[in-house]
């Protein structure tokens, strides 16, 4: 079983549109996982049925037992996040502001403050429109993604892949280069880097590749919107060449990305077009890379 992780560093490069197209081309044989939980949108294109849902708890939040609170206000005075408010000498915690550090529980003279697990969101085991399976998650208001949640999504995807005998897990990776993206990459057989011919696209490609290289994971690259800036496109090609990263495909700027997304479809389904052919080529090249 091999994990293919699609990442971009920069947002808006077309990563999710490409992941969705790959899922469509691969069909029901693979398991798909959405680890881009901060801005989960793969479900908009692949239409999962949200068949089984589970609660997810991550981190902590404080709560004050009003029957024990003596109204001294020490907790509010130490809170760095202004998460404790007073109303008629009664103190309470604003859960959205609370970062879960636990300082208040340490200073409370009447032991009225408890830390409890924080409900972060839900994760789902779904069937998508290819009839393949997908693991994905939805964060609650004010909650953030974490290496822990990504690890959970990946673990569940692996369990299903094992059970079904699926050979490939396709992962829409987390953005940036922080904890969630490290967790997305962990254990991957191949990364597909999606970049665009802009200054920010190139910069973030280099940054995220540093991480990929650190973990010794082979990579291929898709240069999207390649005609936006010819010079930068050339710089990207030079960079990829010097790092020994194969170009899976180059895609010109095309409105079809937005049109397909607005219609809730993958580019593959949207219409027969040159971009769909490029996706097909990129997927074939990706499969060839993992052997």
């Amino acid at each position: 079983m091999k994990e293919i992780v699609v990442i971009s560093g920069k947002g808006g490069t077309g990563k999710t549109s490409i992941t969705a197209s790959f899922a469509m081309l691969a069909g029901p044989e693979i398991v798909t996982a959405d680890c881009d939980v901060d801005a989960a949108d793969l479900h908009l294109l692949l239409k999962p049925d949200f068949r089984i849902e589970h609660d997810f708890y991550g981190g902590f939040a404080a709560s004050i037992d009003k029957s024990l609170c003596i109204g001294c206000g020490i907790c509010a005075s130490v809170c760095h996040f202004d998460a404790i408010v007073e109303n008629d000498s009664i103190y309470s915690v604003l859960p959205i502001h609370c970062e879960g550090c636990g300082y208040c529980t340490e200073v409370c003279p009447s032991l009225a403050i408890q830390m409890h697990d924080r409900f972060t969101g839900k994760w789902y085991d779904s069937t998508i429109k290819t009839q393949g399976r997908m693991i994905h998650a939805k964060l609650g208001i004010g909650a953030d993604n974490s290496g822990k949640l990504v690890a959970k999504v990946k673990k569940e995807a692996r369990l299903i892949a094992e059970r079904l005998g699926a050979e490939i897990i396709l992962i829409d990776g987390a953005p940036g280069i922080g904890c969630p993206v490290i967790s997305s990459l962990s254990g991957a057989a191949l990364t597909v880097l999606v970049t665009e011919a802009t200054m920010a696209g190139f910069h973030d490609l280099k940054r995220v590749y540093e991480l990929v290289k650190k973990f010794n994971i082979p990579a291929g690259c898709i240069i999207n919107k390649v005609d936006l800036n010819r010079e930068i496109a050339e710089d990207i090609r030079d960079f990829l060449k010097s790092e020994g990263i194969p170009v899976l495909v180059e895609i010109p700027y095309d409105e079809i990305f937005y049109q397909a997304m607005t219609a809730g479809k993958t580019i593959i389904e949207f219409s027969h077009n040159a971009i769909a052919e490029k996706m097909q080529k990129a997927w074939s090249e990706t499969l060839a890379l993992i052997g």
Binding site: L149, C179, I182, S186, A188, F215, N216
Partner: protein, 112 residues
């Protein structure tokens, strides 16, 4: 030499855990004494952020000479490990603990 191998289980036949930060077990083999000790690291599942440096800290306390793992530690975890002088070998992600040890002995694993 004392080895730490990140593992998914507690035996020589267990697969190596390719994840460093969220490795489930440390399989510790002391060559000189011919003893095996297994440390359960699964508490790391409840850590939201920074699993790598935490695991690196736990390994630092084991006073081992060689660490064998899959993808290898990230930047922050590696800087913790560097201070302990432990030698880090990666690329054992698809092997069993025994295969990883043999591969190290045959010089097949890359040093970080």
């Amino acid at each position: 030499m004392k080895f730490v191998i990140t593992a998914k289980g507690n035996s020589w036949e267990s697969p190596v855990d390719e994840r460093f930060g969220r490795a489930q077990y440390f399989f510790i083999f002391d060559e000189a004494q011919d003893t095996v000790e297994v440390v359960n690291n699964s508490d790391i599942n409840s850590v939201e952020h920074g699993a790598g440096p935490k695991t690196a800290g736990a390994i630092a306390g084991l006073a081992a000479d060689v660490l064998i793992t899959g993808n290898g530690p990230g930047k922050n975890a590696a800087s913790v490990l560097q201070k302990t002088g432990i030698k880090i070998y990666t690329g054992a992600g698809s092997m069993s603990v025994r295969e990883a040890y043999t591969a190290f002995k045959s010089g097949l694993l890359g040093q970080l």
